[in-house]
């Protein structure tokens, strides 16, 4: 085994795509499968430069359908496998992720959201929330992390591998083009040195022993003949999903109790939201801040009590209500009014958030 890619805590100033590649290396990812699409490309660029030095592999596939399905193959073979995509590539990726959801395969996908729908821009958005959380022809039994900084990008890519292999739901890190392309300081670390134990990856096929004699063959399928059979399988998965939800759900809040306006955001937009709320508080406005770190499962139990004690809720996102719908569904039955500052495909600054809060009071 080659030496560890990272020893000790290493401070660096780099782009988010570089951070993702380092995180995957640090997490012990064995193989990346990928297809070029902006703004994800540099994840592959950094990975292909560093991977051979640490005996890791890469395959460039013919499209994102294949990138998704080869990743499925990698995890079936018992390897910590991942891929990365964005926008129209994420659309194609959903086919394989639906299979991963059905068969409970621990795939890891890093999504670097770009403008949508269609080809739109290669720059930035938060418009892939619906697709990433609920893509495919299923129920959205996935884990979706939404990091907001390079430090979190590093941490949650590592965590994504662990959550995927622990809970066996396809796991996504929902970044965006801004995070991909921007440079900011980050601390890289070796997970083990921080006391993070990587989940053991066990193969689902190619197991030892002669199948049919020394053990049962693994017969893995995603097709069922009867609605009862499917219902049973899904009921079991849903039960397990709901059981792990409280363990997995993560959020962040600041001065959120008894807020006159509780600002709700996720991902990179939450930085603007937090900055705005801090400025508003300094100016004497009773603003609060809540951020969903996991979009699936959504931190309903954390949000509901805060929302019930707030006068207004303001959802801020670079999409047209994708987060707002999650929030509203979570808060069904509460009377606190929910407004949105919705800017599909556009970056959001603290000044804009502050203005939007002022318009509510």
């Amino acid at each position: 085994m080659a030496t560890k890619p990272i020893t000790g805590e290493q401070r660096a100033f780099m782009t988010g795509n570089e951070v993702v590649a380092w995180a995957a290396l640090a997490a012990g990812a064995d193989i990346m499968y990928g297809y070029p699409i902006t703004p994800q490309n540099e994840i592959m660029h950094y990975w292909t430069r560093m991977a051979p030095k640490y005996e890791r592999a890469f395959l460039q596939t013919e499209d994102e359908i294949s990138a998704g399905f080869t990743t499925v193959g990698g995890v079936l073979a018992g390897k910590r496998a991942f891929t990365a995509t964005a926008g129209p590539g994420n659309v194609l990726m959903q086919e394989a992720m639906a299979m991963a959801e059905m068969m409970r395969l621990p795939t890891v996908v890093v999504v670097t959201q770009r403008g949508g729908p269609s080809t739109a821009t290669v720059i930035y958005s938060q418009q892939e929330l619906n697709l990433t959380c609920f893509g495919g022809n299923g129920e959205g039994l996935r884990i979706v992390y939404s990091p907001a900084s390079h430090d979190e990008l590093f941490t949650y890519v590592i965590k994504a591998f662990n959550s995927a292999w622990k809970y066996r739901f396809p796991t996504f890190v929902l970044g965006d083009g801004y995070q991909s392309k921007m440079r900011e300081p980050v601390t890289l670390f070796d997970p083990e040195e921080r006391g993070i134990n990587m989940e053991v990856c066990r193969p689902m096929v190619g197991l030892p022993g002669l199948p049919g004699e020394e053990r049962d063959p693994a017969h893995l399928r995603n097709t069922y003949n009867l609605e009862d059979e499917l219902y049973q399988v899904l009921t079991d998965s849903i039960r397990e999903y709901e059981a792990m939800a409280s363990e997995v759900a993560e959020w962040d809040a600041w001065s959120a109790d008894e807020a006159e306006v509780l600002v709700i955001a996720h991902g990179v937009v939450s930085r603007a939201a937090r900055a705005a709320v801090e400025a508003l508080r300094q100016g004497g406005v009773q603003a609060g801040y809540f951020r969903s770190i996991t979009l699936r499962p959504f931190p309903v139990d954390a949000l509901r009590p805060l929302a019930s004690r707030a006068r207004h809720l303001l959802v801020v996102e670079s999409a047209y209500g994708q987060l707002q719908r999650l929030v509203q569904a979570s808060l069904y039955g509460l009377e606190t009014p929910v407004s949105g500052y919705l800017r599909p495909g556009m970056g959001i600054t603290p000044e804009e958030v502050a203005r939007a809060v002022h318009s509510l009071i």
Partner: protein, 194 residues
């Protein structure tokens, strides 16, 4: 008040605004600040106005882009127009002296600004390719929060392999940096707020 600088740089593809942003933020990072730099990028590999968004702070920076810059740098005709949206009443507009007419047309007479004859200096005394390093020097001079040494080390990290091949290049870059620094430090005003 703690340092919290917002700089937008706009120029044509080949003018090197992204390099200026990269070197400036590298220098700031190694000097112990928390910089954030994001280039604008689109589907065109070439041809558009290139904009770099730089923020340098003592605490982690919030949003990657901003509404109004403390300093906005415009280095071409198109950039003068394109940068308008980031210029507020308090913004210091840094532009190449050759663009004075454009600046007057777009911003009127009242805009706080600094005309830098960078193109002229580069062509006459130095070399056109170090045009952007003169601008870098101006920014270091105007903001006043970085040591020359920090910037030189960042230049070294960026261009070290080229300097090794051609030592005269290093000398050329250092002189360009010095010229810009002298021009900028005469107008040290943003840094005064530190």
């Amino acid at each position: 008040m703690a340092l919290n600088l917002k700089i937008a740089l706009a120029g044509e593809g080949g003018q090197g605004v992204q390099s200026v942003a990269e070197i400036l933020t590298e220098a700031a990072y190694h000097a112990g600040y928390q910089p954030l730099y994001i280039p604008n990028f689109g589907v065109e590999q070439r041809g558009g106005v290139s904009v770099a968004f730089v923020q340098i702070s003592e605490a982690p920076v919030s949003a990657p882009k901003f509404t109004t810059g403390d300093i906005v740098v415009a280095l071409s005709h198109r950039a003068v127009e394109r940068a308008r949206q980031y210029v507020g009443p308090e913004t210091l507009l840094v532009f190449d002296a050759s663009l004075a007419d454009d600046v007057r047309r777009v911003y009127g007479e009242g805009q706080k600004s600094l005309a830098v004859p960078a193109l002229a200096i580069a062509k006459e005394g130095l070399h056109p390719r170090v045009f952007n390093v003169i601008i870098l020097g101006v920014l270091v001079g105007v903001t006043g929060f970085l040591e020359r040494r920090d910037v030189e080390q960042a230049l070294e990290r960026q261009f070290g392999h080229k300097f090794a091949q051609d030592p005269s290049l290093k000398e050329l870059n250092y002189r360009a940096l010095e010229r810009g620094y002298l021009l900028g430090s005469e107008r040290l005003e943003v840094g005064n707020r530190i």
